[in-house]
Amino acid sequence: MIQLIILPILQIVVIVGLSPLVKGFINKTEARFQCRRGPSLFQPYYNLTKLLRKDAVVSETASWIFRATPYVTFISILIIALLVPVLSSTVPANFTGDVILVIYLFALGRFFLVLSSLDTGSAFGGIGGSREMAISSMAEPAMMLSVFTVAIISGSTNLSNITQAMLSYKLLSPALFLALAALVIVIIAEAGRIPVDNPFTHLELTMIHEGMILEFSGRYLALIEWASCMKLLILLTILVNTFLPWGVASGLTFPGLIISFAFYVVKIGFFALLIAIVESSFAKVRLFRIPNLLGTSFILAVLAIITHYIVS
C-alpha cells in the first residue's frame, strides 16, 4: 500500500520540488565563480510562480500543437519521474517500464517541443529545433550504449533492478567507469548545458533550447522551464542512483528513506557543482564540434561494453 501510494507521491514531490533548486544552485555557484553574488537559490521558484500567474501571448500562426506541447513535455517528464529510483531502490511503478521507455519518453517530449518550435513559423524556432534534433540524435546512441553496459552488468533494464544489482555490486569496474564518463557527457548534451548549449544566451544564432521556446510565455513557458529543470534532475538521478547507488534505501523504512534522501541530496549537489565548474571553466564549443564530443562519449561507451565482455 505504502509502496503503491506514498512512494510515488514522494518521488514526484522530490523531483518536482527539488528540480528548480538544482537549477538555482548551479546558477548561484556559477555566479560565485564569476565573482558575482548572483540571484538567490530560489530565484527559479520565483520565476515559475510569476510565470504561472501570467497570461500568455500565443502566435497566431501557431496551431493546437503549440498549446499542447507544454503539457505533453511536462507529463512525459512526470511519468519518467515515476520510473526512476530516487529514494528507495524499489521503484513502485517498476512494472510500467524500463530505461528504454525513459529514453523514449524524453524523445516524446523533444518531438513535441521541436514541432512547436516549427509551429510558430519563426526562423529561430527552426534553428533551435533542427540543432536540438541533431545533437540529441548524436547523443542517443552513446546514452543507449552506456545504459546497455549497466543493464548487461546488472542483468536488467529496469532502473530499480539495476540499482539493486549495483548496491550489491560494490566496486566500480572499469566498464562502469567508462560508461559513467560517457553518460556524463551525454547528460550535459541532453540537458543543454555548456559546452554544448548555453542556457543563458539569447543571442539568436547560438540558441538551441532557448530558441525553441522563444515563442512561449505565461504558464506554457513555466511548464516547459520546469520540465527542463526536472529533466536535468532526472538525468542526474539516473546517473547517481544507478552508477553510484550508495546509501539508496533498499527497504521502505522511514529512517532509511531519510538517510537515502540525505545521500541523494549530497550526490546531486556534487554533480550540480561539477556541472557548474564545467560550465564556468569551458567555453561553448562550435555547433559542428559537438559531434566530436558526443562521438568521444560513444567511443567510451563502446569501450565500456567491450571491456565488460572481454573481462567477464
Binding site: E60, I65, D98, G121, S136, P141, V302
Partner: protein, 677 residues
C-alpha cells in the same frame, strides 16, 4: 470451410479485376465495384488468417490445374497467416481508401487498368505468401512484380515515372533470377520433379556447406532487392513515389514484406541448420540499411520518397531482428531466437500499419495540393484538419514514441539485442551491442526525419498557392486512415495480443513457445510484456499519463483561473512574418548534411547576380544537392561499361555478304581441325 473462403477470396479478386476492366462507359462504377470486391475479399482473408492462427491448423490446396510437371499447390501455415494478416488488413484499408483516392483520376485517364492491376496486385501478394511450390512461387512472385510495375507507370506521361518503372522492372527481374537459381541449386539436391516446398523443407540437411552458402547469398541478393536493402534499394525510392497513393501504400506497406517472408522461409525452413555468420551478415546488412536508409530519408524533400527511404530503414530493423534470431538459433538458444523472431514479425505488422497510414496521409496531401514536395507545403494543419493529426499519429508511431505500436516492437528489438550477451562468441556480443547503438541512432534520426516531415509540411505558414488553397479530402479517405491510426494506438497499448498472435508463427518455426515466459500481469491486471531483462506495460504508463494530465490541468486552472491567451503575430525581429521566414526542409536537415558530409558529398552552389551598380544584390540562387553514392559509383559505371562493350561488338554485322561467308568458312575450318583432337 476456410478453404472455401480462400478460394472465394481469390475468385472475388479476379472478379473485381474483371469488373474494373469491362466497364468502359461507367469506369467509376466499375472501379467502385472492383474495389469493394477487393475489400470483401480482404476481409475473408483476414478471417482465414485468424482462424489458421488460432486453430493451429495449416491449410493445403492442390488445384488440379497442373502444369507440364508441376501442381499448383498452396499452403497456409501460421507464418503465411501472419503475412496474410498484414497484407489483408492493409489491402482492406487501401481498397476503401482508393474509393476516394481514385476520384483524382476521374475523366482524366483510363482507370480500368488501375482497378484491374490493383486487384491482381492484392491477389498476387496473397498467393506469394501461400504458394507451396517453387515454380508457382516464381510465377506469382513475378505476377506481383508485373502488376505493381504497371501500377508504378500508371502515370507514364511523366518520364520520371517511366524511369522508375523500368528500374523497378530490371531490378526485380534480377531478383527473380537469383531466387530461381537458388531454387535450382536446392532442387539439384532434392531431385523431385514436383518442385514442392515440402521437398525443399530441410533440404539443408542434404546439401553440402558450400552450396548452402551459395544459396544463402543468392537468396540474400534476390529477396534483398525486393526488400530494398542497401545497396540494392535502388528501385525503391524511385518506384514507391511514382505509384499512385493508394498503390504505394500497399507496395511500401506490405509488398516489400513478402521478401521478408521469403527470407524466413528460406533461412528457417529450407536451409536449416545455418552457421552463425549468416545471421551476423543479416544483422550487419540490417543495421546498414537502417542507418543509411534513414540518413537518405532525412535529406528528402519529396514526402513520398522520404517515406520510401524510411521503408528501407524499417526493413533494416526487421532484418536486425531476423538476423539475431538466426544467430541465436545457430547457437541453439531457441527461446531467445523465438523472442527475436517475435520482435521481427511484430515490427513487420507495425510497419505495415503505420507506413500505410503515412503513405495514405501523403496521398491525402497530394490529393488536396497536387504536390509531393514539402517545400511547397506548410500550414496544412489549419486546412487538412483531420489528416494532420492522423499523420502525426503515424509519425509518432514510426518514430517509436510510446505508447504507440512502433515503440513496442523497437523495445522488443532492444530486448533481444541485449540478450546478445548470452552469445558465446565475444565478437558477436559486441556486434549486437553496437547494433543496439545503431538502432538507437536510427530511432533518433527517424524522429528527426518525421519531425521534419510533419513540421515542415503541416505547420507554419503555407509556402505555395497549392498549400494555400488546400481542401480537406473526401470522408472515406480520412476515415480509412483513421482506422489505421486506431490500429497504431491499439497495437501500442495492447502489445500482448499482437505478440501472442505473432508467437504462433515463431512457435511453429522454432518449436519453442515463449508465450508464458514473456507475459505477466501488472497492477491494472492487464497482461504486460516481460523478458528476462525487463518488463513494460504501456497501458499503465498511459493511465499514469492521463492521471498526471488531469492533475496538471487542474492545478493550472486552480493557480490561474482567469487565464487568457492573447493572439499576436510571431516575433520576427519586428518585421511582419512571411512564409519565407519559416524553416524549410533543406534548412532543417542542414546540420546532418554537414555532420555526415562525407557520406552525402553535398554539392553546394551559390549564384549571386548583381544589379547594375555592383553593390546591390539582385538575386542569390542557392543550389544544394547530395550525391547518391551507389547510383553514382556502382550502377551508372556498370551500365555504361556494358553498353560500350556491346557498341564495340556490333561491328561484326558489317553488312557485306563476303564477310558473312567468311564467318561460316572460318567456323567450318576451325571445327574441322578441332574434331581431330
Amino acid at each position: 470451410m476456410v478453404e472455401h473462403l480462400f478460394i472465394i477470396s481469390i475468385i472475388l479478386f479476379a472478379a473485381g479485376s474483371l469488373f474494373a476492366l469491362c466497364f468502359y462507359r461507367w469506369q467509376m462504377l466499375g472501379n467502385y465495384i472492383s474495389l469493394i470486391l477487393a475489400a470483401i475479399a480482404s476481409c475473408f482473408n483476414i478471417a482465414i488468417a485468424t482462424s489458421v492462427l488460432f486453430n493451429h491448423s495449416a491449410i493445403r490446396f492442390n488445384f488440379l490445374l497442373y502444369h507440364a510437371i508441376i501442381k499448383y499447390s498452396f499452403l497456409i501455415d501460421s507464418l503465411s497467416a501472419i503475412f496474410i494478416l498484414a497484407i489483408s488488413v492493409v489491402s482492406f484499408i487501401a481498397s476503401i481508401y482508393s474509393l476516394g483516392y481514385t476520384k483524382l483520376y476521374v475523366n482524366k485517364r483510363d482507370t480500368r487498368f488501375l482497378g484491374f492491376n490493383f486487384n491482381f496486385f492484392l491477389l498476387s501478394m496473397i498467393l506469394v505468401v501461400t504458394a507451396n511450390n517453387a515454380l508457382v512461387f516464381m510465377i506469382v512472385w513475378e505476377l506481383m512484380t508485373l502488376v505493381s510495375f504497371f501500377l508504378v507507370i500508371f502515370e507514364y506521361e511523366n518520364p520520371l515515372n517511366r524511369k522508375a518503372g523500368f528500374v523497378y522492372l530490371f531490378m526485380s527481374y534480377i531478383c527473380a533470377v537469383f531466387i530461381s537459381v537458388a531454387f535450382f541449386i536446392m532442387f539439384s539436391y532434392v531431385k523431385t520433379w514436383t518442385f514442392d516446398f515440402d521437398s525443399f523443407r530441410y533440404a539443408g540437411d542434404v546439401m553440402p556447406a558450400i552450396c548452402k552458402n551459395i544459396v544463402f547469398f543468392l537468396v540474400l541478393i534476390g529477396f534483398g532487392i525486393k526488400a530494398g536493402i542497401f545497396p540494392l534499394h535502388l528501385w525503391l525510392p524511385l518506384a514507391h513515389p511514382a505509384a499512385p497513393g493508394n498503390v504505394s501504400m500497399v507496395m511500401s506497406g506490405v509488398m516489400i514484406k513478402t521478401a521478408i517472408y521469403g527470407f524466413i522461409r528460406f533461412y528457417f525452413e529450407f536451409l536449416t541448420p545455418c552457421p552463425p555468420w549468416w545471421g551476423v551478415i543479416i544483422l550487419i546488412i540490417g543495421a546498414a540499411s537502417a542507418i543509411l536508409g534513414i540518413l537518405y530519408a532525412l535529406m528528402e524533400k519529396d514526402i513520398k520518397t522520404l517515406l520510401a527511404y524510411s521503408s528501407v530503414e524499417n526493413i533494416g530493423i526487421i532484418l536486425i531482428a531476423i538476423g539475431l534470431s538466426m544467430i541465436f538459433k545457430s547457437y541453439n538458444l531457441m527461446a531467445l531466437s523465438s523472442l527475436a523472431m517475435v520482435a521481427g514479425l511484430y515490427h513487420v505488422l507495425n510497419h505495415a500499419v503505420f507506413k500505410s497510414l503515412l503513405f495514405g496521409c501523403a496521398g491525402n496531401i497530394y490529393y488536396s495540393t497536387h504536390t509531393k514536395n514539402i517545400e511547397q507545403l506548410g500550414g496544412l494543419i489549419k486546412r487538412l484538419q483531420i489528416t494532420a493529426p492522423l499523420f502525426l499519429v503515424g509519425a509518432l508511431a514510426i518514430s517509436a514514441i510510446p505508447p504507440l505500436n512502433g515503440f513496442m516492437s523497437e523495445w522488443l528489438v532492444f530486448q533481444s539485442l541485449l540478450n546478445g550477451s548470452n552469445i558465446p562468441s565475444v565478437i558477436v556480443k559486441v556486434l549486437t551491442a553496437i547494433c543496439g547503438a545503431t538502432v538507437a541512432l536510427t530511432g533518433a534520426l527517424v524522429a528527426t526525419c518525421f519531425v521534419k516531415a510533419f513540421g515542415i509540411s503541416f505547420l507554419a505558414l503555407p509556402r505555395s498557392e497549392h498549400a494555400q488553397h488546400a481542401k480537406e479530402v473526401p470522408v472515406i479517405m480520412y476515415v480509412s486512415m483513421g482506422l489505421l491510426a486506431g490500429l497504431c494506438v491499439f497495437m501500442g497499448l495492447f502489445p500482448v495480443k499482437i505478440m501472442m498472435t505473432v508467437n504462433h508463427a515463431s512457435t511453429e518455426l522454432l518449436g519453442v513457445n515463449i508465450a508464458k515466459a514473456i507475459t505477466s500481469y501488472d497492477w491494472l491486471q492487464t497482461k504486460t510484456l516481460q523478458t528476462n531483462f525487463s518488463e513494460i506495460s504501456p497501458q499503465s504508463a498511459t493511465v499514469f499519463g492521463l492521471m498526471f494530465l488531469a492533475i496538471t490541468v487542474g492545478a493550472m486552472t486552480l493557480i490561474n483561473p482567469g487565464f487568457t491567451k492573447k493572439l499576436y503575430e510571431t516575433w520576427t525581429c519586428g518585421i511582419s512574418p512571411e512564409p519565407r521566414f519559416g524553416y524549410t526542409a533543406t534548412a532543417f536537415s542542414k546540420p546532418f548534411r554537414i555532420i555526415f558530409s562525407n557520406l552525402y558529398r553535398p554539392r553546394l552552389e551559390i549564384k549571386t547576380t548583381y544589379s547594375v551598380p555592383k553593390y546591390f544584390v539582385k538575386s542569390i540562387m542557392y543550389i544544394s544537392e547530395i550525391t547518391p553514392i551507389f547510383e553514382k559509383y556502382f550502377y551508372a559505371p556498370l551500365s555504361r561499361y556494358v553498353l560500350s562493350i556491346s557498341n564495340k561488338v556490333r561491328w561484326i554485322h558489317t553488312g557485306s555478304v563476303h564477310m558473312y561467308l567468311v564467318y561460316i568458312f572460318i567456323t567450318l575450318l576451325i571445327s574441322m581441325l578441332a574434331i581431330r583432337w
